[in-house]
Structures are given as C-alpha cells and as structure tokens.
Point group: C2
Chain length 339, copies 2
C-alpha cells in the first residue's frame, strides 16, 4: 500500500484528494476490475439485454436534522442523484439502518417518514432493507446506507464516460452553490448567523431526465463532497483539457457568500446535495437553460464556465477584474460528516 498515512484521517472521507488516494491505493488496488475502475458515480451493468446503473452511499451527517432536510431525505436524494447524473432513471433503492442504543423512537420515525416521502417524490421504491443496533456510544445516533438501481437508456450510456468534450463546451449548474455545506455547518456550530441558509437537498432525477429528453449532454456529475472544484478538477484531469470558471457567473446565495467570507471557505469547495454540473456543446446551452429555469429546482441555473484548450488538467477561476487563480481539488478535511 502506498498510503502515506498509517491511520485513517478525517480527510480520507472528504471527497477530495486524500479520499481519491485512499480509493486508488487501497480499494482499487485490491478490488480492481474493469467496471469499478471506471470510477463513475454508478456502475453500469448488463442484465440480459438491458443495462442498469447501480450505486451505494452511506450517510453519517451531523446533525441529523438541518434546515432543508434530515438524514432520511438526504439518504434518498444522494443515491437518486448518483443514478440520475449517470443518465439512469432511478427505480429501486435499499435502505439499511445502523442505530445507536437509546436513540429516540420518535426522532427515528420522523427520519423514516422523510425518507418515505422523498422516495415517493423521486418515484423510487424501497424494496429491501436491514437494521443493526450497536451499544450506546458505538455509533452516533443513526447512520443510513442506501443502494440504488436505475434503468439505463442506451442513448445516455456515454454520459458517464465524459467523451467528446471539446474546447468551447459550456459548463452549466442548476443554481446556487455551497448551500448544503453551509446550512449543515451553521446548524452544527450554532454560529447564529442571522441569515438563514437552507440545504439544497433534493432529488434531481425528474429535472435531469427532462434535460436529457430535450438536449444531448456530454457529462454530468453532482458536486457533493469536495464541491464544484473537485468535480471539475477530476474532469479536467480526465479529459486533459482546461476548464475556466467565471467568478461573476457563479450563482451564490447571499448567506452562503457571507459565511464563506467570514469563515474563509471557498464556495467552490463546499458540498451541494441538489446540484448537477452539466457539460454540453454551447449550441445546446439555451435549450438546457430553458428546461432548467422552468423547473423549481433550476430557477437560478447559469453557465458558469467553459472547457478551454489552455492549461490542460487545470481549473482556473477568472474574477471580475480579469485576475486568474488556479482552483484546486479539496485537499484536507474541510467539513467532516457533511453527508
């Protein structure tokens, strides 16, 4: 094993570079196979003459309840979105609970109700599950794992692969960035910022399928842990092209902006749970924005940048005065237990 660290650190779960290394140097080393090695949000599997997408996520968010959602709602949105950005139509999910002895049955029921309501909204059926209980002090209240299965249409199969991306292609996001991370941070630390920041936690499958129905898309990814910066860096590295972001084009909630400035965070590194980054030919941009902006989950959609031939493998942010800075992947453990 090439890992520099001899113990697990919070950064190994950050979604950024340390996690990337843990996956490469430990998990891919031992589990290596052609499907896993693609490292997409969902695996695409052949079942008879059909293809399905398959994904999993464990949720350990702290606190369990936050403005805009709770761990139950999040556990559906996270898995639904991983399937949706892979171009699949989410249909079935599993739900597995790890519960701490002594946890309130009433709070558990609120979580279970939210989970059921979000599954209904997203149109996925909870078909199987599991329940484990550990002694008091051996986990933190509730952890939830969901795995999901989606129907894959042949014409969407290339979206996971980030193929045919060319300089000039546009990068679109369906609204303000950083809301989830800052809402959780605010709820956790009781900063008592006057401004209310709500998590954007939402299932994007209906919105994404609407876009795909109208326009070809070259790549999609939900910028969760590690934020927009990490997704774009991974993409730039993969396609060996540059990406240029316009700072003035980034949709930002005023409260998120204020919190980030005060606390010294870059909103490009903050987790989202209801956002999708879309890469498409610039001729499709108007069509895509039309679809997005007519949906309540995409009102503030915007083109935030472009693929460029300069600085291959790098993401550069252009500010309003023409200044430029390199935007790197998230490196350490900015906000542990954000999802």
């Amino acid at each position: 094993m090439k890992m520099k660290e001899d113990k697990i650190m919070l950064g190994h779960g950050s979604g950024g570079r340390m996690m990337h290394n843990l996956i490469a140097d430990l998990f891919l080393k031992h589990f290596s196979n052609s499907i896993l090695n693609e490292q997409t949000d969902a695996a695409v599997l052949q079942i008879g003459s059909n293809e399905i997408a398959f994904t999993t996520d464990s949720f350990v968010i702290d606190p369990l309840f936050f403005p805009g959602g709770n761990i139950g709602k999040l556990a559906v949105c996270g898995t639904v979105n991983d399937l949706a950005v892979s171009g699949a139509e989410p249909i079935y999910i599993s739900v597995s609970f790890i519960l701490e002895e002594g946890f309130s049955m009433n709070e558990l029921e609120v979580i279970v109700e939210s989970l059921a309501a979000e599954a209904k909204k997203a149109g996925v059926i909870i078909v199987t599950g599991d329940t484990k209980v550990v002694n008091k002090g051996k986990c933190d209240k509730v952890f939830i794992n969901t795995a999901g299965i989606g129907r894959m249409k042949a014409e969407n199969r290339q979206i996971c692969k980030a193929m045919n991306i060319k300089p000039g292609d546009v990068i679109i996001v369906n609204g303000t960035i950083g809301d989830h991370g800052m809402a959780v941070m605010n709820a956790r630390e009781s900063f008592n910022f006057k401004t209310t920041v709500e998590s954007d936690c939402a299932s994007l499958n209906h919105l994404i399928l609407e876009v795909l129905d109208k326009s070809p898309v070259k790549f999609m990814r939900d910028p969760t842990r590690g934020g927009v910066a990490t997704v774009l860096n991974e993409l730039a590295e993969k396609i060996q092209l540059g990406i240029e972001i316009e700072e003035s084009a980034l949709p930002l909630n005023g409260g998120v902006k204020a919190m980030c400035e005060l606390l010294g965070f870059d909103p490009l590194h903050i987790a989202n749970e209801g956002k999708v980054l879309i890469v498409a030919n610039e001729n499709e941009a108007t069509n895509i924005l039309n679809v997005l902006q007519n949906n309540e989950l995409g009102l503030q959609s915007a083109i935030i940048g472009r693929v460029v031939s300069d600085h291959p493998g790098r993401v550069v942010l252009k500010n309003e005065t023409g200044g430029r800075r390199i935007v790197d992947s998230l490196a350490g453990d900015q906000l542990p237990r954000i999802c």
Copy 2:
C-alpha cells in the same frame, strides 16, 4: 407507531421478535409496497425480460477479527448468502465503508484483502462503493455495508415464497449450528475456553446452486441473527403448519455445545454465517444430502426435522428421551453486534 419502547434497544437489532416488531410497526408502516412487504431476504425485481434479486446488509460485528474470518469476509458472505438462499446467482456487490478517524490503515488493508479474496471465491464482482470517515469516538472502528445483485432463474422464483410446503417435508441443514455466534462471543469476552470454536462464515452460493441443479427445493433461508429457531418459527407461522426438530439430529460442534451449556444459551438461537436451512419433499432428501455431503461446506449435513400438521405455527423440539418443548423465536438481545 405502535412500538412499546420509546428508545431503540439492542434487541431491536437481534434478528428476533423485537426486530420483527420494529420492521412491522415502523419501517413497513411507512415504506409499504408489494415488493418490500414480502419480507424476503432479497427483493426480486423485473428488469426488462429478466429478473434480478437485490439485497443489502450492514455489518457492525465486534470484534472485527474472529476465528474463521473478519468483517471483510463476513460482509461478502452475508450478502452472497442472502441472494443464494433466494434462489439467485450472486453476480455484483457494492461495498460502503464507515471508518473511524484513527483506525489503523494496516488493519483496514487486511479487511479489504479478505473482502476481495472472498468476493473472488464467491465469484461476485465489486462494482461500486463509498467511503465515509467519522470523528474518533463516533463509530466503532469500521462498519461495512454491502448490497448485492443476483441473476434470478425463473425456475427458482418460488423458493422465496415458501409455497407448497406440506406435512412430511424434511428440514435439512448443511452442518453444525451456532459456530459463528459462539466464536464471536469467545473472541469478544476472552472466556479462554480451551476449545477452539471457529466461525462457519462462508459463501454458500456455489453449494446452493449445486443443490438446485439436482433437486427441487421448497424453501431456503440462512439462519443468521436469531438462529435456526427464529427462521423456523417465521416459517411455521407463515405456512400455518407445525415444525418438529429432533434434538439428537442437530449437528453440534463439541466446543459450541460446551459453551452453550456453560453460558446457558440455546444453540438454536445462535447466529450462523455459513449455514442454510432447506425444506424439501422427503423423496428429495437423499439427493440433497448427497450433494451437500460431497462439498466441504456440507460435510456434516443432516435432516434435523420435519414439517408436521400438529401445532400449526409452532416449532417443537423432541429430545432423546421423547420429551418435547416449544422452541420460540429469539426474544431479546442475546448477542449484540454478532454480524
């Protein structure tokens, strides 16, 4: 919610009656749908013209390493067996880790290696995964969730349903019972029993498919949490027939027998991780035993009882002197964190 308890108790994860109630009164209440309500080990789903089985399990076993295995091996066996007893051929699994900050990278690699080795042995491909890290003290070292997808053959579709079971049908087990639970108990408590008890932790898919190739089977289930007694009680209740077990026919490892006697446990309530209970027409018994006993995972296979028309919904144990006692489901929290 009808739950009597206002807080989660260890018994809610025991696999026994309290867990049954939690599932019925909370999860099924909110998640109810025709697939989930079947309450089988794996959900059977239609994908185009094919059927797949889908299941999930979280593993929170303490200690992580025990004679006969570790949490990595167990995380594969558990999910593979849930698919196999449903009559499916396991093909793909997901693996999701929740890691405690400070956990040893070397121990994690041993677990990952075991997981990879068992997946290879069972013939399943790890196609997707997830990694979360929580602060020190917020989980106990490592929890693993696996979800699995299996190919379902039409001719095995009825096995989950426990249909056509009739008085006279035999109940077969593929070897000694209670080994896993007692091995973990011994490793956890350092009783220093001289005898070595090893977990039976094993992937049974190849063995089960061999049986199904040769003989029709009416029902299968792996007696994990809650043990043989809980599986047979659930079955008796479902089919509204009685089940009679011969105490002298129960395959028991000497060490397990000694530990159970000393500690006051009933081996019928102890968890197994490499056992399958098979219900079949008695005319098939010889064929099935032949297949099982020629496989290293079934050397000590035996007919342990029969379905009877007496005492419908009840499981009765007949001892060697002709005495009879009712064997109930596991009620409380005998051995928390056994898997």
